[in-house]
């Protein structure tokens, strides 16, 4: 019998769990483990990592044995643009200010939609940045510059 992945959800989550557990174990080697009486900083994380690796391994093994559902399509465009939009907001908020940052996250994430049009996107960006500047900066006093350090010295 040929070995094949029968349950992709189990396979990939198993792999993810094992990877995360290994990363935590790798980093935790620098910390003191201690003893049950005096638990060091790595005691609890190491115990958890071993458990997580165990769960991951079982899931990996099970993925070859028990049939599971297919994963279905993966929206790479949505994933990338929404993530990129958030990152841009983070980069721009203090440097360029709220107007640019809000416009950027609005346009970039809106672009992920199949129904995106430039006209609608630009109107949304304009409305949202004015609204957020008024409500969050002037209204609630969140310390975000209207124009950031790039424009104002």
């Amino acid at each position: 019998m040929r070995l094949s992945i029968r349950n992709p959800a189990d396979f990939w989550s198993g792999l993810l769990f094992v990877a995360v557990a290994s990363a935590f174990l790798w980093i935790a080697r620098n910390y003191d483990f201690g003893s049950p009486l005096r638990m060091g900083p790595s005691f609890f994380p190491v115990v958890l990592s071993v458990a997580l690796a165990g769960v991951g391994l079982i899931a990996l093994l099970r993925s070859f044995a028990v049939e599971g559902d297919k994963l279905g399509g993966f929206t790479v465009k949505g994933l990338l643009l929404v993530t990129l939009g958030s990152l841009l907001f983070g980069i721009l908020i203090e440097r360029a200010g709220i107007v640019v940052a809000v416009s950027a996250i609005t346009l970039v994430s809106a672009y992920a939609s199949v129904k995106f049009t430039w006209k609608q996107g630009l109107i949304m960006a304009a409305l949202l940045s004015v609204f957020c500047a008024l409500v969050f900066v002037y209204g609630l006093g969140v310390p975000m510059p209207i124009l950031g350090s790039w424009f104002v010295d």
């Binding site: 993810l16 769990f17 049950p36 994380p45 279905g72 907001f89 940052a101 809106a110």
Partner: protein
């Protein structure tokens, strides 16, 4: 009577003009955002949480509770009107609620949901007021071993009640616990897993995680099959149920309330499980089970009462033990901690005004809910006509600003993006995010109690077995996990959740 004077204190606290105002604003904002498709209570609360930081603790908690009920009711409105449940607990309402809306009885369905919720809210608030003090009394005697075992019990229950693969739910809990230890070790002051990033020294913010997993992750997921969305908003006319309707909903509301109150205390999927259970009970005992799914009013009344009762009683473990039973309660605990209050049994004795104020505000919140929603139902329906591709960039903006304003640092925005990505991947892999968030919030508490227990017992791990309360809880946890492995229980569990698909 003691309870009566306590409740009086509560109503005095919650009944001030300012607090009534915060409660109303909370219910209104919660409904406003909760009504938007794809935003459940967790994302709604996470998004609005920063707005409450500036308030005094009582007002903040009152407003947050209001947001919670509002968001939950908003989710039901969405489920009934456009068959897009914003949260798992209103999935079941969508079945018959949407069918009723298609039959032109959207108004009656919405009113039934509101009436059922109000009744359930009233009963379970009273229950909470009665059950909380004795429970807190017991909890005051708990030492570290009892607390540790209690958390083990809570986490095992959340595995049992999560739907989908048990193994992966268990993995998610452990993953959450691991994320919880990131930051400075309380004991040795060693910075763990921080990669030298100063923003991580205090640990990963739970609001950031919640907003990423439940807000951003959900948006990415919705972008997957955008074109499938059909926006059919039925006209809402004629709100009042007729005599026949009243006769049919009394039983389901009573049963739903009882079931919801009982199940809501359980950790894990309190609100969700209770709505599923209430629905299947009604379907089983109904004289016309064939009507279910085609617009049976019982199918709206029972789950809506149950999920509201469950939402209310899920405050019991949070308020008395300081242990969250679901992600919403985890957010509430986070809010308390931000306000400088250590959640636990001591809150009731040290801050009676806060404790009873929250309880009283629950009833007031439910009252506002019915007062606000029935007249405004037309406006909520209008909100639903906003197409998703216009809506979600706005949600992104509010999430980003909300996360930024937590600590005024861009780092949290980057973290939110990462957790959004993770949230989407986990959703694809059918790994439940709720157990992870629960583990995440319990991680530091568990480590602390484990450490203290072991120090007290001089390193003897048998301390958890020697302590009678602790060992009882561990045995229950063990039995619960064992039960799940039984084939017959597995089948029932899968059936309970099967209606969702």
């Amino acid at each position: 009577m003691d309870t009566l004077s306590n409740l009086l204190l509560g109503f005095q606290t919650a009944g001030t003009f300012l607090n009534l105002g915060y409660c109303l604003v909370g219910v209104f904002l919660g409904t406003l955002i909760g009504v938007l498709p794809g935003l459940g209570p967790v994302a709604t609360i996470a998004m609005l949480l920063p707005a409450t930081f500036g308030l005094p603790p009582v007002s903040a908690l009152i407003m947050l509770s209001g947001i919670y009920y509002g968001a939950q009711y908003g989710g039901s409105t969405t489920a009934i009107l456009i068959n897009l449940p914003g949260e798992s607990s209103s999935v079941i309402t969508a079945l018959d609620g949407y069918a009723m809306a298609r039959n032109g009885r959207a108004g009656v369905a919405l009113a039934t949901a509101a009436i059922g919720s109000f009744f359930a809210g009233t009963v379970s608030t009273l229950l909470l007021a009665l059950a909380a003090p004795p429970l807190a009394q017991i909890a005051l005697k708990f030492g570290p071993p009892e607390y540790f075992s209690l958390m083990v019990l809570g986490l095992s229950a959340s595995v049992v009640l999560a739907h989908g693969s048990l193994l992966r739910a268990f993995g998610m809990i452990v993953f959450g616990l691991l994320l919880g230890v990131v930051g400075t070790d309380a004991n040795s002051a060693v910075q763990r897993f921080t990669f030298g990033i100063p923003e991580l020294a205090d640990g990963i913010g739970f609001v950031t995680v919640a907003m990423g997993m439940f807000g951003v992750g959900e948006i990415i997921r919705n972008l997957e099959n955008e074109s499938d969305r059909s926006v059919f908003v039925s006209k809402v006319t004629n709100l009042m149920p007729n005599r026949e309707d009243w006769r049919r909903i009394v039983g389901p509301i009573l049963r739903g309330t009882a079931l919801g109150s009982a199940l809501g205390i359980l950790p894990g999927g309190g609100a969700m499980l209770s709505s599923f259970a209430a629905y299947s009970v009604e379907k089983k005992i109904s004289r016309r089970p064939s009507e279910f799914g085609k617009g049976a009013i019982e199918g709206v009344a029972a789950p809506e009462s149950a999920n509201n009762a469950g939402a209310q009683t899920s405050f019991i473990p949070m308020l008395t033990l300081g242990i969250p039973s679901n992600p919403v309660m985890a957010l509430m605990i986070g809010a308390l901690i931000i306000q400088g209050i250590q959640p636990g049994p001591a809150v009731m004795t040290q801050q009676p005004a806060l404790f009873w104020g929250i309880i009283a505000s629950m009833w007031i919140g439910n009252f506002f809910l019915i007062l606000l929603n029935l007249p405004l139902v037309g406006m909520w329906a209008k909100m639903l006509t906003i197409p998703y591709h216009v809506l979600f960039p706005g949600i992104m903006v509010f999430c980003a600003i909300g996360v930024f304003s937590l600590n005024n640092t861009s780092f949290d925005v980057y973290l939110m993006a990462i957790f959004g990505l993770l949230g989407y991947v986990f959703a694809k892999l059918r790994c439940e995010p709720a157990p992870m968030l629960l583990g995440f919030i319990l991680g530091p508490m568990m480590e602390e109690n484990l450490r203290r227990s072991l120090t007290l017992s001089r390193g003897d791990p048998l301390v958890f077995v020697k302590n009678p309360i602790s060992v009882t809880m561990l045995i229950i946890a063990f039995l619960a996990l064992l039960l799940v492995l039984l084939p017959s229980f597995r089948k029932t569990r899968e059936e309970a959740f099967v209606e969702e698909d």
